[in-house]
Structure formats: structure tokens, C-alpha cells
């Protein structure tokens, strides 16, 4: 083992990484102090961030007979000597997993976020790699980001995105050269001139020339020899395709030849979130007998939609939102219902707890399900205090609820993702029976997501694509031309309602908003559209393809702003709603626009009048 010597071109102490932790009550942002450096090494130039107290020179080449390992692009343990022979589960600094080192040649862009004028805060840099990986956000506590950017420019060419000022792109010299070649081709403006006379024929000839030129001259030049992997070839081809697409787009625009009719939506209104519903407000909506009348329950749904509910109120409010308690019933009546359902729960629980080992030996279907539940319970939200530690009784409760659900709906059984839905319910309810019946209410809404053929998810992904076509045609077209219009990268968002993208607290907030079914039943899709809308420039300017988009979207996890997402989604709803007479029929159907029985009425309530 030998140290790789590097020349440190820049070293900035006082650069903290932001770690979003899944706290029990509030999502806590922790800032981990560390050092940012730009280091020249034999294998390239690297941007490295090391948490305080760790060996900054821990960059190690572990020589082995079989080859050496360069742990770039990935955080490394302090003791990198444990490469293959020793277990690496030794004592590590708790933050060593944040440590990273990225080759500047692998860098695609970075977000450079300055604190808002007049507001406190520190400038922040978030690096984005060519494969779509987003690195941990770094906050410059003691100085501006200028030195970093200046030194980085020695090695790569940077360009600030014209459309999104926070985005700084690493200019790909190959692509620039290609763009140059293409413009050289059209130097005499000949194509353009002829195009005005005969757009179609000229475009086709011109494009075929470009394509031929590119295939014969440019590709061999770029794709030199054996050193290029298949993926790189494919990527280069794809870029070329984009290039020709762009050209065509330009041509048709110049000729005032609009192919796609684009619907002009009204501007998005400003939307503000309200504060969560308090116990006092909740109680004030009740009749003297403790029930809610139709109008009041509807009004309450609107309040919950606009601000969620206070943490302390969740235990009561969620039972109503999930249809376990009925708004129109008095507390005594609901309590009576509860007592009956508790017996039901215990009866169904008894059905599986009484299966003996001997029975199990001839009950393979059951055994498989039980194993799935056990595996997932052991790995559901274990970082929460509520589920932490071995032999935690709350784990047993989660297990019992999910197993009993298998008995309640044996046709569906247990499917991965269900434990994600169940865990917050158990956390809030604190007992099996209430958690179970809330879970049953929740599952009624999302049952189809888990069915074997996955049709429901595919339908939602298609609906999302349709919506995006209207809301953000630029992004929708980009996704289509990059083989990503199946929207698969949003699969995780849809199947567990953003559970993996938010802290526990924010997930609870989002879900109670969605349970109200306001302002339309498919509001989740609008949230997806709003979230993607925000990523438009990042995706397009980084020229992300299928793989990179998925990685980028995955890496946004825990870096979303829930209030921002909710207000944008609502604003988009109002935009669409205001132009519903111009919208294609299927869009109105996706959002149930114009369907008086749904809009403004929480589903589940029979009568609005």
C-alpha cells in the first residue's frame, strides 16, 4: 500500500456538508464541518471533500496483485487498507460516508446557490456528475465560492446556464467541437437560403448531409479506437441525434412552421401554505355532540389541505381522513365502531398466530408472505427512534399489523412498499388496532399500485407524461427524445407517495394533504409534475439521458422542499383548471376537471349538497 501523492491546488477548510437526518419530530439539518480541496494526482484532477478529523490524505492506492482499487467517486473509510482481505466494518467516523472524491472529468455541472439578499446563510455548491449523481450539498462558511470556481476553471471550462442562474455547466469540449463542425458545414448559409423556398426537401437533404457528415467524419474522430465503451458510443450517438433534432427545430421555427401547437396556460398564481390545523380549531368545527356536519367536514378538509394538522392532532384527525372514523358520527358512535373493529382485528390476527409450525410446512404461500413481511419489518424506518434497536416491541406491532393485513386481503398479500405506508400510521396511532384500520383505509386508495400486473402504476406514469406535455412541453419533449417518456424514474415517487423522498415528518404532512383529495383526486400527479418542472433546466442542460435522469431523480431524495412542491402543484392545478375548456379531454379526465361530483368534494363523502 502506498500513498498517492497529489498536488493540492486548493484547500478550503470550513466547508460543511449538509446532512438531512430523519429526526423523530422535525427533519433536522445537520452541518458536518470539513475541508474541500482540489487535488492534482497521477490519474487526474479530483474535487474532494473530507469531514473534519479525518485523514485528508486518505486517498490511497491499494496495490494488489490483481490490480488496484481507486476508490474515487465514492466515499471511503479512513482505513482504506482493508480493501479486500479485512472486514471494513471497523470503527468509522459517523460522517465518513459523506466523504467523496470526484474526478473533474466526471463532473457535469454544479448548482451554486447564494443566500438570498438580506437573508442570513452561506453560499452552497452541489456537484452533479455526468452519470446523474448528485453529491452532498457543501456550504462555504468562511468564504465565497469564488476561489473554488476560479481554481476549478484551470482544469475545466465553465459556463453559467442562461436559463437557470444557479446552474454552472462544465462545457464538454467534444460537444462544442461538434457544434462547431455543424456550423462550419452551414457556413455559407446555403441550406437556410434554400430552405425558405422548399422547407421539407431542403431540411431532409440538409439533415441527411449533416447526418452523413457526422457519421463519416465526426464519429470516427470522437470515438477513437478500442478505448471507448459501448455505453459511450451509444451516448455519443444519442447526442448526435439531439443535435440533428435541434437543427430541425430551429429550421422549422425560422420558417415560421410550427408543428406542435402549444397551449398557452395562464400564469401560475401565487399560492401560500397555511399553518397546521390546531386542536382548538379542530374542536371548534365540531357540533356540540362531537360530530361534524357535511359543510364543516368539507371545510376542515380544505384546512388540512392548506396546512396539514398539528402533530398532536394527528392521532385523532387521521382516523377521519382515512375513513376509519366517520365525520357525521358522534365520538360515542365512532367508539362503538372502533370496539367492533377491534374484535375484528383480533379475530383476523388469531387466524395467522394460530398457524402451527407443522401447518406451515404445508402452507408454502403463507410462509413466503411471512418471510417477506419479516424481511421488510426489519428494514423499515429503523433510523427512527420509534423503530430503533433489536427486540423493539414496535417492530413486533408493525409485523402483526402487516401479517393481519395479509389475512384481511389474502388475494393481495404483502407487497413491498406496504411497510412504508404502514410505519407512519403505527407511529402516530401507537397501537395495532387503530394502525391496522387506518392502514386498511389507506390501502383502499393505493391498493391498485400493488397489484400483480402493475397496470395502475403504468397508467399513472402515462397520465403524468400527458400532464407534463401540457404543463412543461419542453421537458416532456426532451424526455421523449431521450427514451425516458415511460417516466419510470418517477416510479418510486408514485408507489409509496414520496415516502423515500422526504423526512418522516414531511411525509406525514404530505400524506395528510393528499388524503383530503383536494383540489382534485390526482393531486399526487401534479406534485410529480411540479417537482419535475423544477428540474427542467438541470436535466436538459446536463444533457441527461435515461440512466442519468433516473440517478438524478433518485439523488433528489431528502433534498426536496415540501412546501415549495405543494404550492407549485396547487398553482399548476389552478392554471389547468382555468383553461379546462381548452385542455384535451384526457387531461380533464386525469384531474377530474369539470366533474362537479369530484372537484371541491373530498371523495368518500356521498353528497355534496
Amino acid at each position: 500500500m502506498k500513498r498517492a501523492r497529489g498536488i493540492v491546488a486548493l484547500r478550503i477548510p470550513g466547508v460543511s456538508a449538509r446532512l438531512t437526518d430523519d429526526g423523530d419530530d422535525q427533519p433536522t439539518d445537520e452541518y458536518i464541518p470539513g475541508t474541500l480541496a482540489i487535488v492534482e494526482k497521477a490519474t487526474g484532477v479530483f474535487i474532494e471533500w473530507t469531514p473534519q478529523g479525518e485523514d485528508e490524505c486518505g486517498w490511497v492506492l491499494a496495490d494488489e496483485d490483481s490490480g488496484h482499487t481507486i476508490p474515487s467517486l465514492s466515499p471511503k473509510p479512513v482505513d482504506a487498507s482493508s480493501s479486500s482481505s479485512l472486514p471494513s466494518s471497523g470503527p468509522l467516523s459517523p460522517h465518513s460516508r459523506l466523504r467523496f472524491s470526484v474526478d473533474v472529468n466526471d463532473l457535469s455541472s454544479f448548482k451554486n446557490v447564494e443566500p438570498k439578499k438580506g437573508k442570513k446563510g452561506h453560499p452552497c455548491i452541489r456537484l452533479i456528475a455526468k452519470d446523474g449523481t448528485n453529491y452532498v450539498p457543501l456550504y462555504f462558511l468562511t468564504q465565497s465560492t469564488k476561489d473554488f470556481i476560479d481554481v476549478l476553471q484551470r482544469y475545466v471550462t465553465l459556463r453559467r446556464s442562461a436559463r437557470e442562474h444557479q446552474l454552472v455547466l462544465v462545457v464538454d469540449e467534444k460537444a462544442e467541437a461538434l457544434a462547431q463542425s455543424l456550423s462550419t458545414l452551414d457556413q455559407n448559409g446555403d441550406i437556410m437560403g434554400r430552405f425558405m423556398h422548399n422547407p421539407y426537401a431542403t431540411a431532409m437533404t440538409g439533415l441527411s448531409k449533416i447526418t452523413t457528415f457526422v457519421q463519416d467524419q465526426v464519429i470516427p474522430a470522437i470515438l477513437d479506437s478500442d478505448a471507448v465503451s459501448q455505453e459511450e458510443k451509444i451516448r455519443a450517438m444519442r447526442e448526435l441525434r439531439t443535435e440533428t433534432d435541434d437543427t430541425r427545430l430551429k429550421i422549422s421555427r425560422e420558417a415560421d412552421f410550427e408543428v406542435v401547437t402549444q397551449l398557452e396556460l395562464p400564469p401560475r398564481p401565487d399560492i401560500f401554505r397555511e399553518s397546521p390545523v390546531t386542536q382548538a380549531v379542530w374542536s371548534s368545527f365540531k357540533h356540540s355532540d362531537g360530530s361534524f356536519d357535511q359543510a364543516k367536514s368539507h371545510h376542515m378538509m380544505m384546512n388540512v389541505f392548506r396546512g396539514g394538522v398539528e402533530t398532536e392532532l394527528r392521532k385523532e384527525a387521521w382516523k377521519y381522513l382515512l375513513g376509519y372514523y366517520e365525520w357525521s358520527k358522534t365520538p360515542a358512535e365512532n367508539e362503538k365502531k372502533r370496539a367492533k373493529l377491534e374484535k375484528d382485528y383480533l379475530r383476523m390476527k388469531g387466524q395467522w398466530t394460530s398457524i402451527s409450525e407443522d401447518q406451515e410446512s404445508r402452507f408454502a404461500k403463507y410462509v413466503v408472505r411471512k418471510a417477506l413481511v419479516e424481511k421488510d419489518v426489519a428494514r423499515t424506518d429503523r433510523t427512527l427512534k420509534f423503530f430503533a434497536g433489536d427486540d423493539n416491541p414496535n417492530l413486533a406491532m408493525l409485523h402483526n399489523v402487516l401479517m393481519t393485513y395479509c389475512m384481511y386481503d389474502f388475494d393481495l398479500g404483502y407487497v413491498q412498499g406496504m411497510s412504508d405506508f404502514c410505519s407512519p400510521l403505527l407511529y402516530v396511532m401507537g397501537n395495532e388496532c387503530d394502525a391496522f384500520w387506518c392502514f386498511v383505509g389507506f390501502m383502499q386508495r393505493v391498493h391498485a399500485n400493488f397489484e400483480k400486473d402493475q397496470t395502475a402504476i403504468k397508467v399513472q406514469l402515462n397520465q403524468l407524461r400527458d400532464l407534463l406535455m401540457i404543463v412543461n412541453p419542453k421537458l416532456a419533449n426532451y424526455l421523449e427524445s431521450h427514451d425516458s417518456d415511460d417516466m419510470y424514474f418517477c416510479f418510486r415517487w408514485l408507489i409509496v407517495w414520496f415516502k423515500r423522498e422526504f423526512s418522516f415528518e414531511d411525509t406525514c404532512k404530505l400524506w395528510e394533504v393528499l388524503w383530503t383529495c383536494q383540489p382534485c383526486p390526482n393531486f399526487l400527479l401534479l406534485i410529480c409534475a411540479a417537482t419535475l418542472d423544477r428540474q427542467t433546466e438541470t436535466i436538459i442542460e446536463n444533457k441527461f439521458g435515461l440512466t442519468e435522469i433516473l440517478k438524478h431523480v433518485n439523488d433528489l431524495s431528502m433534498h426536496h422542499d415540501l412546501d415549495e412542491m405543494l404550492t407549485s402543484a396547487e398553482a399548476i392545478f389552478h392554471q389547468l383548471s382555468a383553461s379546462q375548456d381548452k385542455l384535451p379531454m384526457h387531461i380533464c379526465e386525469h384531474l377530474a376537471l369539470g366533474d362537479k361530483s369530484v372537484v371541491g368534494t373530498p371523495s368518500g363523502d356521498e353528497d355534496d349538497e
Binding site: 487526474g44 488496484h68 459501448q230 424514474f489
Partner: protein
């Protein structure tokens, strides 16, 4: 500085039953870390790692997928262009071994490599740290796995522990070496991919997936 340096990219897909340790294997290899708090994987994700193989710089792109069968149909676009498929099972769980055939078949159907008989698969038997819980005795198990591998055209088999970092590095190292060797022998597993890109100009609408609405 080496701006002209070119890296080869090797795409590796890990498949296997839920809970056999696919995410753990990926993280152990890439980050040299184990946690028993990984959540069940939903959808698909990957990690990359740069390694030196005989003086070639290689980027390993390791794909982690969901283990429950019904989720497979959606993410198959990412199987395409794979250089190697890692099949993983849990040595303490006999069912996960029995599923290997269907995982292998599923991959071949979805990824449809040119020469399915010779597409490189590697078998990993994970969790050997839990020796005491082995579904069958260690010795018999190795024999079972080896004969399954032999029946599949001599698939390499490694017994590993993602938890204790046993053999993980070595297995992936071998995978990389193998894939590189194949690449330089110029056996493209997906020759049709390149054609698709060119054809796409004309048949984009038909390539946008068979949705039913």
C-alpha cells in the same frame, strides 16, 4: 492531468430474491460499508466505482433492483446494455436458490442479448457469515451451487459475505476482468442497440413503450 484518458464503462445488474442482500453487496463493493438498516429497494438505482484493471481504468456501474417479482416488468429498460448479470441468493434461504432459474430467464428475456448462451452471469451466494443458519450444510451447498453453475455453461460461483466483506471485492474484480476481456474480444452483446439509435429517427413513436391507455 490526463484530459484525454478514456474510461471503459461496465454495467452490472444484480438480480435475486428480496432480502438476499443485493443492496448490501453493491454498497460493500462500492463504499466498503455494511449497514443492516438499508431499506427495501424500490425501483432501481446504481452506484459507480472506478477501478484499475490491468492498467485499464474502468468505471463499474452497479445496478441494484427491487427483489419482488411484480416490480420487475417496469424497470427492464435498464437491463439493456448490461455487460454482466450478477445473480444473488442467500445461502441461509433455500427458496432464494430455487428462484435463480427464473431470475436468469427473466434477464435473458428482458435484456435479450445477442448470444444468450454465452452472456456472462456470475452467481453470488451471500450471507456466509451466518454459517450456522445455512439452509443446507455448507459443503452440500457449494456442491449444489456449483453443479447449477456448471449446468448454466460454467457460470462462476462465489461465496461471499456483504456484512463481513468476504470475497465481495474479489468477485466484482473478476466480473470486471471478465467483462473487459469480452469487450476487447469485440463481442458486443447488444449489437442492435446502435442500429436502434439510427432507426429511432423514423420510428420514435412506435418505440415509446406498449402502454395501454
Amino acid at each position: 492531468m490526463s484530459g484525454t484518458r478514456r474510461k471503459a464503462l461496465l454495467k452490472v445488474i444484480i438480480l435475486g430474491d428480496s432480502g438476499v442482500g443485493k443492496t448490501s453487496l453493491m454498497n460493500q463493493y462500492v463504499n466498503r460499508r455494511f449497514s443492516n438498516q438499508y431499506k427495501a429497494t424500490i425501483g432501481a438505482d446504481f452506484l459507480t466505482k472506478d477501478v484499475m484493471i490491468d492498467d485499464r481504468l474502468v468505471t463499474m456501474q452497479i445496478w441494484d433492483t427491487a427483489g419482488q417479482e411484480r416490480f420487475q416488468s417496469l424497470g427492464v429498460a435498464f437491463y439493456r446494455g448490461a455487460d454482466c448479470c450478477v445473480l444473488a441468493f442467500d445461502v441461509t434461504n433455500a427458496v432464494s436458490f430455487k428462484s435463480l432459474d427464473s431470475w436468469r430467464d427473466e434477464f435473458l428475456i428482458q435484456a435479450s442479448p445477442r448470444d444468450p448462451e454465452h452472456f456472462p452471469f456470475v452467481l453470488l451466494g451471500n450471507k456466509i457469515d451466518m454459517e450456522a443458519n445455512r439452509a443446507v450444510s455448507a459443503k452440500r451447498h457449494v456442491t449444489m451451487a456449483q453443479s447449477w453453475c456448471a449446468a448454466k455453461g460454467g457460470m462462476p460461483y462465489y461465496e461471499v459475505s456483504a456484512k463481513e466483506a468476504v470475497n465481495v471485492e474479489a468477485a466484482f474484480q473478476a466480473i470486471a476482468r471478465d467483462a473487459l476481456a469480452r469487450e476487447s474480444a469485440d463481442t458486443s452483446d447488444f449489437p442492435e442497440l446502435e442500429n436502434n439509435i439510427n432507426l429511432n429517427e423514423n420510428n420514435r413513436s412506435s418505440s415509446s413503450g406498449g402502454c395501454n391507455c
